[in-house]
């Protein structure tokens, strides 16, 4: 429970700071939050015992702690990047306390969701993870797009969690228990239980933005503030993938042939549709939304076949994906905070005026595309290896073709920044320290994670027991 307790203490401290500082000296809030959260991330890595609590409702293992630490790192980067946005938009600066409080609440929800041992804890965690973010998606009160994003997110989330709940109740009806451990020993061969699986899969796939549950993604990412889009696309997605892995391997382990097939076809459509739509986008946030849909399509390649190596490959890929995606969103955020420009055309000639920003963007995009020597190459390579060793060569072939297609649209952005010339490029942006720190952490992560083999070994050793 260490993660959750620390986060709750941090949330309370933020509230206290919010209440005790007057209207004019809110500037203490941002450094305080960054320091608190860095401490939490650091403490998260210290070793601790694992086991079950609350009669089996809450369990931790090395793998779950690893997942929570990855989410912590991601949220730390999001908080650092948000500092830049908060400083530039004055109406939101006064709400910094509320902003950070909601993000931490959502993270607490995700932690409970990942550690859940029964469906009740899972559902509570899921709702706590989703609903506050809808509030943040609508936080820019003066922009209509933001409110639209908030409404779309909350309505689609409500529908999908309704379907999820229906599935859970069917499972409870057929089995009599909500606990994962007793459900996993149940041999699920009735069609009612199959229906329950489909509903639960649909509910979780909504958060992962797998096709055909992805329709909310582009509009919400485009309308929400950039840092909330980055939170949704990396942290929220990663947590949903983690819990999907846990559910598939514990509750639905008797249905392995069913979910292998479901994952196979879902992967194929998700990759394809994500790539095809990403090619046409002009708005950078929509572009990154579809690109993240396509990236999520690669994840099932690691889960299919159900091997320990596959799970390690997925966790490794997600860690790298968090760094790469936050790097790309970080650059978009840095530019849009100061100039408000979000279109690909406006990025023309960016290298002449802002070389470091262009380089970080190029590194992040190459990592997303899977180009060596940056970390994304290693992540994708291991995912493909996991699927190939299980014999799914056709799926790997489709995946590599899609990876090449995705390279095309990532190169479009590189082309705009480096090759296209413009008479009015974006002026030199002097970023504040928080933005620089955030982008630096992402860039370092992208460069180092691939070459440091010990990180993968560490993940592999932690994922025993599945």
């Amino acid at each position: 429970m260490r993660h959750e307790i620390m986060l709750m203490i941090a949330a309370v401290i933020i509230l206290i700071i919010e209440l005790s500082t007057g209207k004019d000296n809110k500037s203490l809030m941002i450094p305080a939050t960054v320091i608190l959260f860095s401490l939490i991330t650091f403490i998260g890595f210290l070793p601790i015992e694992t086991g079950k609590l609350f009669g089996g409702s809450y369990n931790t293992s090395d793998m779950i702690i690893l997942m929570k630490n990855s989410l912590n790192i991601g949220v730390l980067i999001v908080i650092i990047q948000s500092a830049g946005w908060l400083k530039h938009s004055f109406e939101n600066f006064d709400n910094s306390g509320g902003y950070f409080f909601i993000i931490i609440s959502s993270l607490i929800g995700m932690d409970f969701m990942i550690s859940s041992g029964d469906f009740l804890m899972f559902y509570i965690g899921l709702e706590l993870a989703t609903i506050p973010i809808a509030a943040l998606a609508a936080v820019e009160k003066m922009k209509r797009r933001s409110s639209e994003a908030g409404i779309k997110l909350i309505l689609s989330a409500a529908l999908s969690s309704g379907i999820l709940l229906f599935g859970i109740s069917i499972l409870y009806g057929t089995n009599g228990s909500l606990f994962f451990s007793s459900l996993s020993s149940d041999n699920m061969n009735t069609s009612l239980q199959l229906l329950a699986f489909i509903f639960i899969f649909a509910g979780v796939a909504f958060k992962i933005s797998l096709v055909p549950f992805h329709l909310w993604t582009a509009d919400v990412y485009e309308g929400a503030p950039v840092n909330i889009s980055s939170f949704l696309s990396s942290i929220s997605k990663a947590s949903a993938i983690f819990i999907l892995i846990i559910l598939l391997f514990t509750v639905f382990n008797s249905l392995i042939s069913v979910w292998n097939t479901v994952l196979y076809y879902t992967a194929v459509i998700t990759m394809t549709i994500g790539n095809l739509f990403a090619m046409r986008q002009q708005n950078m946030k929509r572009f990154l939304a579809f690109s993240s849909i396509a990236q999520a399509g690669f994840i099932p390649l690691g889960i299919i076949g159900g091997t320990q190596f596959g799970i390690s490959a997925v966790i490794y890929f997600l860690l790298i994906y968090i760094f790469s995606n936050l790097g790309a969103f970080g650059v978009v955020s840095a530019i849009s905070n100061v100039t408000g420009k979000e279109n690909m055309d406006e990025y023309n000639g960016l290298y002449r005026t802002n070389p470091k920003l262009s380089l970080v963007m190029m590194l992040s995009l190459f990592s997303l595309a899977g180009i060596p020597p940056v970390a994304g190459f290693f992540g994708k390579f291991f995912l493909f290896t996991a699927a190939a060793v299980q014999g799914y060569y056709i799926l790997v072939f489709i995946a590599v073709v899609n990876a090449t297609i995705s390279l095309y649209y990532y190169l479009l952005v590189v082309k705009a920044m480096f090759i296209n010339k413009s008479d009015t490029p974006i002026e030199f942006i002097d970023n504040d320290n928080y933005t620089k720190a955030g982008l630096l952490i992402c860039a370092l992560g992208i460069i180092i994670i691939g070459f440091a083999g010990i990180i993968f070994e560490f993940i592999e050793s932690a994922s025993t027991g599945i």
């Binding site: 190596f309 390690s312 060596p372 390579f381 190939a388 072939f397 480096f418 090759i419 083999g453």
Partner: protein
């Protein structure tokens, strides 16, 4: 000799370049870095020959292994044999002369040299790698700087050419990845379940023939696209013509040889049964490359396009010879890789020099350059003669070995395609002599800019180094050919066991 130095030197040069200030500093650093790399490669060659003559008969020398990802059995394994050593020397020569030929690059000069050196790092890493993972990593690493190099510093329809080249080559490496992962999944020796990526270990295992039939086309096409295999060669003419001089030199001279080397080292060596069965399909495709490339060069009017199609034809000859699966032909293939690499680097360098003076690459607009720029014109003639296989220059050595080797296969199919491929010598002569006569001989054209100077010092250095290499290989090829033949032993053994 620690092979990792060959990667360390370019990386350190890149790091040094990032701190460079002025254009003079940047190009001195780049020239120094690539010069040191050249000295290292010559040293490697001498050390290799000494080791071999002192009786060391290991397949690979100077081997080393660095653990990378223990759970997947991925090591960064390095090692060289005769083939790799000669190709490393080729790369070092072409990179050094490429830097010298780019002495006047002005726009974003620092980034230009950095990208060029990252490209060469990828190539050196590819040639010293002994395991599939690192080979693949360096193979992809060598493709992506091309996009920036052609897109930013190129000419003509550079954005189109850059995107087409990058997507086609990355698409090929995508197909290659599936093939490599397939080989990996079958790589456990009998009695154990440990998979490996190491080429030498995999060569000791028999991969089942049904699996080989799927993976051989993927691996061969994956590497072959870079080696200009018909019909996937279409990235080459536009790519080479839109690229700046040094990039064309490196790409046509060295990168396309990575394709041939990959076919030899991975496709033919690790999947020999499928190679024997399916060679005929690819022989037909490569013969088409050879003849079609040569015919294509005849009708072009842009100097760079002529040379690009000529490269398609000559690189097709490399793959053709590899597919002949006997040791003389494969020896000829490696010799052709080296010879063509030097030749095409010389050609592209000269075309760049001519272009910077006449500001046109259209052969219809140039005549009589011999009177105006005698040094460069004579160099161009030498390059042309090497290309059409004049004895005394490297082209003859390579092509003769290939055709003698190819003719050793006595059946009708092989003999007839050999005759077809040999006819390309005549077609090559047509387009080379046509261009030489048109642009070099005759009275100086009236539309040429006035006051054109002959070669300056860096251009003379480039041409002299390359011509010495070409002539040296043409007059004294025996040491090279024997070094390569000894290293081909294991490969041809595996292929011959099945005949």
């Amino acid at each position: 000799m620690d092979l990792i130095l060959l990667i360390l030197v370019p990386v350190l040069t890149v790091a040094a370049l990032m701190t460079a200030g002025s254009k003079a500093q940047a190009r001195m650093i780049a020239a120094a870095g690539t010069g040191i790399q050249l000295i290292l490669s010559v040293y490697l060659l001498i050390m290799y020959l000494i080791e071999r003559s002192s009786g060391n008969i290991d397949q690979m020398l100077f081997t080393d292994k660095y653990v990378w990802f223990n759970t997947l059995n991925i090591y960064f394994s390095t090692g060289v044999d005769g083939i790799s050593v000669s190709l490393i020397l080729l790369t070092a020569i072409v990179t050094f002369t490429g830097v010298l030929a780019s002495w006047d690059v002005d726009y974003l000069y620092k980034e230009f040299f950095i990208s060029l050196l990252i490209l060469s790092t990828g190539v050196f890493g590819f040639f010293i790698s002994l395991d599939l993972f690192s080979m693949f990593l360096f193979y992809e690493l060598a493709v992506i700087p091309m996009y920036l190099l052609i897109g930013i510093w190129g000419s003509g329809k550079k954005e189109y050419a850059a995107m087409k080249l990058t997507l086609m080559l990355m698409g090929a490496s995508a197909v290659l990845l599936v093939g490599l992962l397939g080989i990996y999944s079958y790589s456990s020796p009998t009695g154990s379940t440990a998979l490996t990526f190491n080429i030498i270990e995999i060569a000791k295992i028999d991969i089942p023939i049904e699996a080989q039939r799927y993976f051989f086309p993927m691996v061969f096409i994956g590497f072959g696209v870079l080696g200009a295999l018909f019909p996937f060669h279409t990235w080459s003419p536009d790519g080479h013509s839109s690229a700046p001089t040094a990039v064309s030199m490196l790409h046509a001279g060295v990168l396309m040889k990575m394709g041939g080397y990959g076919c030899l080292r991975v496709a033919m060596y690790l999947l020999p049964e499928a190679a024997n069965e399916m060679a005929w399909i690819f022989i037909i495709l490569t013969s088409i490359s050879i003849v079609y490339g040569a015919f294509g060069a005849i009708v072009q009017t842009d100097l760079k396009y002529i040379n690009a199609y000529s490269s398609v034809s000559h690189c097709g000859l490399v793959l053709f010879a590899i597919l002949m699966t006997n040791d003389i032909a494969m020896n000829g293939a490696v010799l052709q890789m080296i010879s063509h690499g030097l030749m095409t680097a010389l050609f592209f360098a000269l075309i760049g020099m001519i272009y910077s003076r006449t500001h046109t690459r259209d052969i219809r607009e140039m005549t009589g350059l011999m009177k105006v720029m005698p040094f460069l014109s004579v160099c161009y003639m030498i390059a042309g003669f090497a290309s059409l296989g004049l004895p005394g220059l490297s082209g003859f050595v390579a092509e003769m070995t290939i055709f003698v080797g190819a003719f050793q296969n006595t059946d009708l199919f092989h003999r007839s395609v050999t005759i077809l491929a040999a006819s390309s010598i005549v077609i090559t002569a047509v387009y080379i002599l046509r261009v030489v006569a048109k642009i070099l001989l005759g009275p100086p054209g009236s539309n040429l800019p006035a006051g054109m100077k002959d070669a300056v010092w860096n251009e003379k250095a480039v041409t002299i180094i390359l011509i010495i290499a070409i002539a040296g290989m043409g007059l004294l090829p025996l040491w090279l050919s024997e070094m390569i033949l000894n290293s081909l032993g294991p490969i041809t053994e595996k292929l011959a066991l099945l005949k």
